[in-house]
């Protein structure tokens, strides 16, 4: 078959663009994770009257870089009796969804890597693939702690998937779109246009429910029973070391940025500045840059909130965790969704 080179050139350019965007997102994700880990250690240290990392580089800023380099050097151990093939692909199954979610997040005006008209569905669908990786890791490790951690992960993530989706539906009903870009655009203008400050009390309840269930979904401390150190050694990743452990670690901390990005996008006006004077009237590249800064700043605040909660609350028991989801969050979420539906149909539709 004759291949026309003139047709191939635009295809190659397109491909190069995709690769470039993928690399940029990957680098961004790595930077975010390096920062969040460092910030977590600093914040928890300050709260516990310690200093935290302060040796590697100025003020210890290179600590996580050093940790990552150490992990890359470590021997990659596969325990005997483990299912080698599953054991090897499990970190990838956990990491790739955490990475793919970043693709639809509107980072700034015109800075969405890939705008999808079913953005929220994509986010919630892709981010729940990670559970399969966690269960695979626990099963393949041939270790009872890992398996217990995986069981807990499965029950926890299934239980909290439901309230998350119920909470996500509320801003979708109010804005009338599944597209993250449209949801952000609807919240433009001053900060009282943001979803969090509208539709009292449905959107506020949805915000709280999303925050609580999201914390459970990304396994941070009040809900980290799947890796409860004092009970399960390290949970599903007990047997992992080196690069594979680094991938789990990366996915976990990338997920906390994803949660804050989703919260910011849905409830806190996305990349819009709180007042139009603070960068809303710019155009072109400047607008993109300033809106990116605002987005990152808001995400930073939400990440700080997550770290704050994480360093305050003790871990809940498994039964309490299940109760919170099935007996509190899901009924409240359902009623809230019903109320929002009525509100959207009777009030907003007019």
């Amino acid at each position: 078959m004759q291949i026309d080179t003139a047709q191939l050139i635009p295809l190659a350019i397109e491909l190069a663009k995709i690769v470039a965007i993928a690399v940029v997102i990957l680098l961004f994700m790595l930077l975010v994770v390096l920062y969040i880990v460092l910030k977590l250690r600093w914040v928890i240290a300050r709260i516990q009257s310690r200093l935290g990392p302060n040796r590697t580089g100025p003020w210890g800023v290179l600590q996580t870089v050093a940790d990552a380099l150490k992990l890359f050097q470590k021997e990659d151990i596969i325990p005997c009796g483990a299912d080698r093939w599953l054991f090897t692909i499990a970190p990838a199954i956990v990491f790739i969804p955490a990475y793919l979610v970043y693709v639809v997040i509107p980072f700034g005006e015109g800075l969405t890597p890939k705008s999808l008209n079913v953005g929220i569905v994509y986010v919630s669908a892709i981010s729940s693939i990670g559970v399969i990786g966690i269960i695979t890791a626990g099963w393949a490790s041939n270790n009872k702690w890992s398996l217990l951690g995986a069981f807990r992960a499965a029950s926890q993530l299934i239980a909290y998937e439901v309230p998350i989706i119920l909470a996500l539906c509320v801003p979708v009903l109010v804005t009338g779109s599944l597209d993250l870009n449209v949801i952000v655009a609807k919240q433009s203008g001053p900060f009282w246009n943001w979803n969090l400050f509208n539709g009292f009390p449905m959107l506020q309840i949805a915000f709280l429910a999303l925050l609580i269930a999201g914390l459970a979904e990304i396994n941070v401390t009040p809900f980290d029973i799947m890796e409860a150190e004092s009970e399960l050694v390290a949970g599903f990743n007990t047997e992992y070391s080196g690069m594979k452990f680094a991938l789990f670690f990366l996915a976990e901390f990338a997920a906390s940025f994803t949660l804050s990005a989703i919260i910011v996008t849905l409830f806190l006006g996305g990349y819009h500045p709180p007042l139009e004077v603070l960068g809303g009237r710019l155009t072109g590249t400047w607008l993109s840059l300033v809106s990116l800064c605002w987005f990152l700043f808001k995400c930073w605040l939400v990440v700080l909130l997550i770290l704050w909660i994480r360093s305050t609350l003790p871990r809940v028991r498994l039964d309490q965790l299940m109760n919170l989801s099935w007996k509190a969050l899901i009924p409240v979420g359902l009623v809230n969704l019903l109320a929002t539906g009525a509100y959207a149909a009777l009030w907003l539709a007019r």
Partner: protein, 179 residues
Amino acid sequence: MTAAPSGCCAELGPGRLKRSLIKDILNAFISIPKGLAVTVRNWFFTRPAVTELYPEERRELPERYRGMPSLPVDPVTGRTPCIACGACARICPEHIITVVPEKGADPKDRKPAEFTIDISRCMWCGLCSEVCPKNCLRPARTFELACYTREGMVYRLEDLMRLGGTLRAEPELEEPEGT
């Protein structure tokens, strides 16, 4: 406070169970902000870090710090006032002090030719300091005594003088009541 945790109290009946669950959830809205307030106070306002940056910043040792025995140097004569009487060597419960007086010296000006302490067996009891008639065997103000060999733990006269620093007036003793 009601001790019943939610969820595991089926014997209380469905009515009680439901009420305690709702109470727990309402309580969470009060107690979680309370906890968050405590941590944020620590985070930004109260209590500086208690961590000591040890090798760079050392703690001031207390005035009467009880370190290993040492022989401070008298700044006037340039040597220790020790008269090599051997009282410390005799009282030492571990027999780790060896004192050899200088031979053929003026009996009114005795001084040690050799003064060795094997610190690896010292238990910091301080009896040697207590019994010293010239009050010249004093606790050294140092605690970094780690070394790689047992021989390194044996301190000779010059080491003890170096560790002791210059002789200072004995810190004031607090007179016991009624004496």
